[in-house]
Symmetry: C2
Subunit: 405 residues, 2 copies
């Protein structure tokens, strides 16, 4: 075990943050200058072994099992992998064998997707209502300023999306992956559009249908409990928020086929998703425990099938730090209702979710995660708005191009 | 020749615009409903053959040689390839053999690039001054409204670029491919930055140096007559406007290496270029006669090397129709000074340039050309502006993120 300790200590030394480490046999050591702000406790030799031989997975599993304990600022501790040079020969034993195993992930066939989605989204609407905003927006919020709260920023997000695709009264909208229906209902109520929304989470669809009735827009929104691949019809606008992370890389061509098939010529759409600056597999623990079947692509991985179909990209915005802020809100609200969460789930679940929310926030801040909003049209639209000004000047009647060829 | 005539007539019939065709032997025919708006004359059997067996190249060469004559609206005629289904078996003989030959293009080695650039940009500053705007911006303009003129819109373009990379007084800027120096001088004068600008067009560099003296910013701008690949130093901002079209696909990794090497951590940059909706070679005639060594990439072709280097894409805007409008201005101004152009060049040159300006405009309107502005940072910048609002609200003090990890 001396060898294992040496690697752990080398890592903590390199990380250069004031931290204390405690081993299962009672030994304690301190690293970094000044008073220790954090403490990491390894409760068993096995926890140490797994930490070293499967850095991400080993730490995450050890933490959620309670074999690794953390005091201090979890997010700062989670920056350690980004503070050190993992290619350094002294750290070469910090391998990620378990990542390989986790990469044999669940496939997104029609039935596989049902299982994958149910794993995360069907664990109870009451749970999500505890800590999400009042419109149950479980995707990146949009903060116009530093002091805007979660409820308002999620409304601003919905409007940012609706304005980006230029929703107009009477238009037909296809939404794939509609969550609890918040955006579809918002769009119907405030923009007068008709929305057909697909979702394979039964819990979410039944909630969304009740919401539409409560908000008296049941004539304008149609929530369909079915896979996006079965969508039919012809639409003016296409919206997909936080869904292609679940589609899987092998299905991007199926996804763009769907857009090409259902979106009218010159129709406009948005694809909003968690992506990566550099294409790579990412955090295996997340894909094993939180989002089975998930994959966050780089921009070029998504754009390549868009290009094959002749979808014209008009605008891309990276809302990276908006998602970090959103996750920080969620993490804080989650901690504030732990007693209620504790009535629903066990301690392991709580530790797992705490880790998921905080590690995701850290990944947006410094780990190469991004949040991309791609706006596109089905073929060139020669009557489009000249600039993006109207997104920011709401009362502006935006000048438009008017080429007829 | 009957077979050749049949193919030409089939094409014109499919195109469905009112057009008259005249053959070298005096025969005339009319296609499309209503009075003919256009007339195309084939002055020799060879012109007809070349038109059929090398559609794009054959037409363009025939037109510039005067063996094919056009009356009517050149741009509407140039939409013909987009109006017909070229995969139609009846049109299958309209092959593009000459495209293959033209694709054996000139390579962008250090000396090859010098020759390629000189071919287009060293034909005389006086020629470009005849019809470009007063700041000699030979790249896509930015029109805030339909009635803005070329001079104003080019100033708006320069400001749009400067604001997108958030230029601040005292910053060091690297510009690769600076044209006649208009943007570098504008940025130095109006934003107080120091610009180091590379260009391998001798004519442009000597003009740019005189401009800097006239505008009294010679202490702030340094025009270097050298290849971008030889750039050195460390900069806060990186600017490249209309340059990677000349870099060639084989050099994108060299180009992103340069950015990574010269841009400070968290430094911001813009790459502005003519791209394609779908990756393909494009108009061979343009690459043979107008821009040897050129290539307009799709977004994913450019983004992939950006991703490998960890450059974080923050914002992408497609200014497709802004370039169509810019080209229409240029084409009109070119026609308005034909007498002066005629003193400098022959009739063939004039026809070639008329075709280049008009066919490019048509390609932006309906032929799959785009103008992308990619804004990126070298690694994540956790103090970036929260929204893009300040681009559109100039007096706004934009709220910024302030994450320290």
């Amino acid at each position: 075990m001396k060898f294992i300790r040496e690697i752990i200590e080398r890592l903590l030394k390199e990380a250069d943050i004031p931290i204390e480490v405690a081993y299962w046999d009672g030994e304690e050591k301190k690293f970094g200058g000044g008073a220790a702000r954090h403490k990491i406790t390894f409760n068993s030799p096995r926890a140490m072994m797994r930490f070293v031989f499967g850095l991400g997975m080993g730490f995450c599993e050890g933490y959620t099992d309670g074999n690794i304990e953390i005091e201090g600022d979890l997010q700062e501790l989670l920056t350690i992998p980004y503070r050190v040079d993992l290619s350094n020969p002294a750290l070469k034993h910090l391998t990620n064998l378990s990542d390989f195993i986790a990469s044999l992930r669940r496939r997104n066939t029609l039935s596989g997707s049902r299982k994958n989605i149910s794993h995360h989204y069907d664990i109870g609407n009451d749970f999500y209502r505890l800590w999400l905003d009042k419109n149950l927006q479980y995707t990146c919020s949009y903060f116009k300023d530093t002091d805007v709260d979660l409820d308002s920023s999620q409304i601003d997000k919905m409007d940012h999306v609706c304005k980006k695709v230029d929703l107009k009264e009477g238009e037909e909208v296809l939404e794939t992956g509609c969550g609890w229906g918040g955006l579809a209902v918002h769009a119907a109520k405030n923009y007068g559009v008709r929305v057909t929304a697909y979702n394979i989470s039964r819990e979410q669809v039944s909630y969304a249908r009740r919401l539409a009735e409560e908000e008296e827009v049941e004539g304008l929104v149609d929530f369909i409990d079915d896979d996006y691949r079965n969508a039919k019809g012809s639409y003016d606008k296409f919206i997909s928020i936080g869904m292609i992370e679940h589609v899987g890389k092998e299905n991007y061509r199926v996804f763009t086929d769907l857009i090409k098939r259902t979106l009218k010529e010159e129709g406009k759409g948005i694809v909003h998703f968690i992506g990566k600056v550099t294409p790579k597999r990412g955090n295996s623990w997340i894909y094993k425990y939180i989002f089975p079947g998930g994959y966050s692509p780089s921009l070029s991985e998504v754009l390549s099938p868009f290009e094959e179909k002749g979808l014209v990209v008009r605008d891309i915005e990276n809302l990276r730090l908006h998602y970090a802020r959103t996750l920080d809100h969620w993490a804080e609200r989650f901690e504030n209702c732990l007693d209620k969460v504790g009535d629903m789930f066990d301690e392991k679940f709580i530790r797992m979710w705490r880790l998921y929310l905080n590690s995701s926030s850290v990944s947006f801040k410094c780990g190469g995660l991004s949040l991309y909003q791609i706006i596109f049209t089905n073929g060139p639209d020669n009557r489009e708005e000249m600039t993006r000004e109207s997104l920011y000047l709401p009362d502006l009647e935006a000048p438009k191009w008017n080429y007829t060829m």
